[in-house]
Amino acid sequence: MRTDPVALPSGATGTIEVLAHDVTVAVWQGCATPWTAQAEPVCRTGAWPLGTGTKLTVPVPAGLTTLHLRVDAHGPSGQAQSAIARWSAQAAGSNPGVLVSAVAPTVGLHEAPLSGQLAMRGSTPGGASASATHTWFATAGEFLPWRTRGESATTWFAPAVAGPVTLVCVSRDGLGGVGWTQWNLHVGSTAQGVTP
């Protein structure tokens, strides 16, 4: 979940966005206390609805130091997943931007589109690079490793089937800041290359 602004001014209005793929329904709730870890998140003090959609604008109730968010997402075939996040009024970190700082120059998709590899490296501005973690997702193919720290490299292995692919890097600065970047590319003989 990405929030804007990062720090949550009490009584202000902010936007929440969930990184979702193939999601048809996303229902949002807010809670003044942490969601209790049970079979599903439970708000002991009573949850209130915030709206639906993968991105929405919410007014923040006055007096909260932390807004505890919950989103229940449903896929087209009915699969469900719940997620929670914290949106702090005193966020110690920043919402880092995400850059792909290195793409393997000689093993690109243009040369071997169906069995290619792509070396990628996440970095975050603002001096948080060393402690930031990066989580890598792909709609096809596989990242190994799928989670990196600092500026360690990961490799994306292209799928054996041609087609469009979305690559995503989610970066967290370890202090509450979250951001992501996506790339759309085409795997196959007529590959379009990487397009941030």
């Binding site: 049970q38 998140p41 719940s82 997620a83 929670i84």
Partner: protein, 744 residues
């Protein structure tokens, strides 16, 4: 006048004595020498020394020395000297009269080396004593005698995350206490449970009490494991050097006067030489794993009947690593740090005050340090320094009655600096470190406990005795609290070969320290209690064999459990029940010795009144251990150990939700707590020893194979990062270890 007569008579008597002595010296022959054990140089007292042809004999003294005098008319030529076989091979030698400075080095028979520790009936309902010499040779122990308890009845098998913890008769690991020579120790094993913190050469025997122990022991609702120090040999310099797969160790002892013997030893592991190379790509060690320990000892007999033992020992374990990539399951876990060390000094005195009275005094203190870094942002730093004093006075009051009275007192300062999530308690689903609320605390304080105990053993007939006692304890918990624990043991010997033992008793202990913390727990917690009952039968089967069958039951009350929502973090509303039976068959026949241990039990808990009963986390229905060794001759010995145990209960997990702030999937229980069970554990270990015995020293080399069948024993259930796939954690595959030990 009278005075002059006395002087003259004395002078005459002295002259007669001198003349007589000169006559003996000139005509009688003396045969003198010493009998010691081959290889160890241990003096062998009480052995007969015979000159059959001259019908003359004597016995060796405490120092193994003997002296025979042969009358002058027979003291010529060569005679046959014999030392008959008992625990050692017989010696026969022809000697020329007179003879002095003879040394006989007798080779020990297997029965001497592997004899059981013989004990008189004690106030404890059940106690198993195993000599360190026997325990060291058990396959799978890597030469560590303390680990013999893994193969004794009532002890659940622990592995995986619980390796090295002692689970006795359905009690939690923290419910069992340890002592060395009667004074408590806080840490028994180095990390991973690989080795105990005392070198085996210092240990005389391992005394294990699974329950029903006397009023002498307390602040434990489980079992009690004691290590008795081996007396230091006063006959010369002794020592040993031990080099094996894991560590190198050395110790030496020497008498420094007629009354005192001192000793020193040290041990260091060398994992740090090879583990980083093996794991170099996956993890970077900022401090490679290693353990170090040391021991200093002094034994003295400063007065007749008084034995004093001084011991200083310590241990230091360290491990710091940083993983190359964040953990798949929990990005907060990017490494791990552990540093644990202690220094302990203690003094004990056993004083035989008279033929019917004895006194034991003990005083010990230690400095304990534990530093944990589960992640880059969490830490736990604990320091405490307990001081313990105790006394035990034993008085025989008559033909039928023996009284024991004693006391314990412990005081300790502690300091905690912690930034951690709440620890996961039994039956709870562990939260990923990234998603768990973190608490911070800095606490210092002073605590303590004390107890007075008394018991009397009344034996009105040789076939019947009863020991009744009470222990009154006080603990400096928030409110200050005390408890009185009555205990009773009745022993009946209907026939000399059979003993029936019944026991009942009440036991209390303080809650675990983390649960009484101001920040992490509830400082108003009360004591935990157990009622223990047992009925045992011991039957001698002839020869060296003995059978013991014991039925036991234990009820827990006031167990500390997590509180309900809105209440204190912990309260004393837990309860539990354990019932079971144990079988122990020990024996030796010819070159073969060993034992079979089997426990059938069921241990359950109820977390709060009204909640359903659930299995205890270490509930193992069946636990079997078979230990056998065989002397093959020429210094060869082979041994096998088979262990089998029901798998521990566990709680299957499933994904509950994704914590987007922490980038981690949070699990939830898929069933009731601990409703599933791991597969059974089976492991076969073997060991072969070869000992070369020289006149003055012994050299032993051994090869040990663990998990010979290469069975993949499941130690814990693991999952992938989103709990969509199960990835079991299995134990070690077949492994070989070896070592060389030289002793003199």
């Amino acid at each position: 006048m009278m005075h002059l007569r006395c002087v003259a008579a004395a002078a005459v008597a002295l002259a007669a004595l001198l003349i007589a002595d000169r006559a003996v010296a000139q005509s009688d022959a003396v045969v003198e020498g010493q009998v010691v054990e081959l290889g160890t140089r241990k003096p062998l007292p009480g052995l007969p020394v015979l000159l059959p042809a001259l019908a003359t004999e004597t016995t060796t003294g405490d120092d193994g020395r003997f002296r025979l005098t042969v009358a002058a008319n027979r003291a010529r030529g060569m005679v046959r000297l014999e030392i008959p076989a008992f625990d050692h091979e017989a010696a026969v030698r022809r000697v020329v009269l007179p003879a002095s400075g003879l040394v006989f080095r007798l080779k020990p028979l297997p029965a001497a080396r592997f004899g059981s520790v013989v004990e008189a009936p004690t106030a404890d309902a059940a106690r198993v004593a195993v000599s360190a010499e026997t325990a060291r040779l058990v396959p799978g122990n890597s030469g560590d005698p303390v680990k013999v308890v893994e193969a004794l009845p009532g002890v659940a098998r622990t592995g995986g995350p619980a390796t090295g913890q002692l689970v006795v008769r359905g009690s939690a690991p923290g419910d069992t206490r340890f002592d060395v020579d009667g004074l408590p120790v806080q840490q028994l094993y180095h990390f991973g449970g690989l080795y105990s913190v005392l070198q085996d050469g210092w240990i005389g025997d391992v005394r294990y009490r699974p329950g029903g122990f006397s009023a002498e022991f307390g602040n434990a609702i489980g079992g009690w494991l004691g290590l008795t120090l081996a007396p230091l040999a006063a006959d010369g310099v002794h020592g040993n050097v031990d080099i094996n797969t894991y560590h190198a160790a050395a110790m030496v002892t020497a008498p420094v006067s007629t009354t005192w013997t001192v000793g020193a030893g040290a041990r260091r592991s060398y994992f740090d030489a090879w583990v980083p190379a093996v794991l170099g790509k996956a993890a970077k060690f900022t401090a490679a794993p290693r353990y170090v320990d040391y021991q200093l000892r002094a034994d003295g007999r400063p007065a007749p009947g008084l034995t004093v033992r001084l011991l200083a020992f310590g241990s230091d374990d360290e491990l710091q690593l940083v993983t190359a990539a964040p953990s798949d399951a929990d990005p907060a876990t990017q490494g791990f740090g552990l540093r644990r060390y202690f220094h302990q000094i203690q003094a004990t005195a056993n004083w035989q005050l008279g033929p019917k009275s004895s006194l034991y005094l003990g005083l010990g203190t230690s400095y304990q340090k534990l530093k944990l870094s589960p992640s880059a942002t969490t830490r736990f730093d604990l320091t405490f320094d307990p001081v313990t004093a105790r006394a035990l006075w034993t008085q025989v009051l008559g033909r039928d009655l023996t009284l024991r009275v004693g006391g314990w007192a412990t005081a300790q300062r502690f300091a905690v600096d912690a930034r951690l999530p709440l620890p996961t308690k039994e039956g709870q689903v562990p939260l990923p470190l990234s998603a768990a609320p973190v608490l911070s605390s800095r606490e210092t304080g002073l605590g303590g406990d004390g107890a007075l105990h008394a018991d009397g053993r009344w034996q009105p007939a040789t076939w019947f005795d009863v020991t009744a006692g009470v222990r009154a304890g006080w603990w400096s918990l928030a409110r200050g609290t005390w408890a009185a624990d009555p205990r009773l043991t009745v022993r009946i010997n209907p026939v000399p070969e059979t003993a029936v033992t019944l026991s009942a008793g009440l036991y209390h202990q303080a809650p675990q320290p983390d649960t009484t913390s101001e920040a992490f727990g509830n400082p108003n917690l009360g004591l935990e209690a157990s009622e223990q009952y047992s009925l045992g039968v011991q039957q001698r089967l002839g020869g060296q064999a003995q059978l013991e069958v014991t039925g036991f039951a234990k009820r827990f009350n006031g167990l500390v459990v997590p509180g309900s929502f809105g209440g204190p973090r912990y309260d004393n509303l837990g309860s539990g029940l354990v019932r079971g039976a144990e079988l122990l068959v020990r024996g030796s026949a010819g070159p073969v010795d060993g034992w079979v241990s089997y426990t059938l039990s069921r241990a359950t808990r109820i977390d709060r009144p009204g909640q359903p009963e659930r299995p205890f986390a270490f509930d193992q229905t069946h636990v079997l251990a078979v230990v056998a060794g065989c002397d093959l001759g020429s210094g060869w010995r082979a041994g096998l150990r088979l262990r089998a145990a029901s798998g521990n209960p566990y709680t299957p997990l499933q994904a509950a939700y994704f914590d987007a702030s922490a980038d981690v999937t949070v699990p939830a229980a898929a069933t009731a707590p601990l409703a599933a069970r791991l597969p059974a554990f089976v492991q076969l270990d073997a060991r072969i020893d070869k000992t070369w015995t020289f006149d003055l020293w012994r050299l032993t080399a051994y090869l040990e194979g663990s998990n010979l069948t290469n069975r993949a024993n499941v130690e814990a259930i693991g999952y992938n990062h989103d709990y969509s796939q199960r990835r079991d954690v299995v134990g070690l595959p077949v492994l070989a270890g070896f070592g060389v030990r030289g002793s003199f």
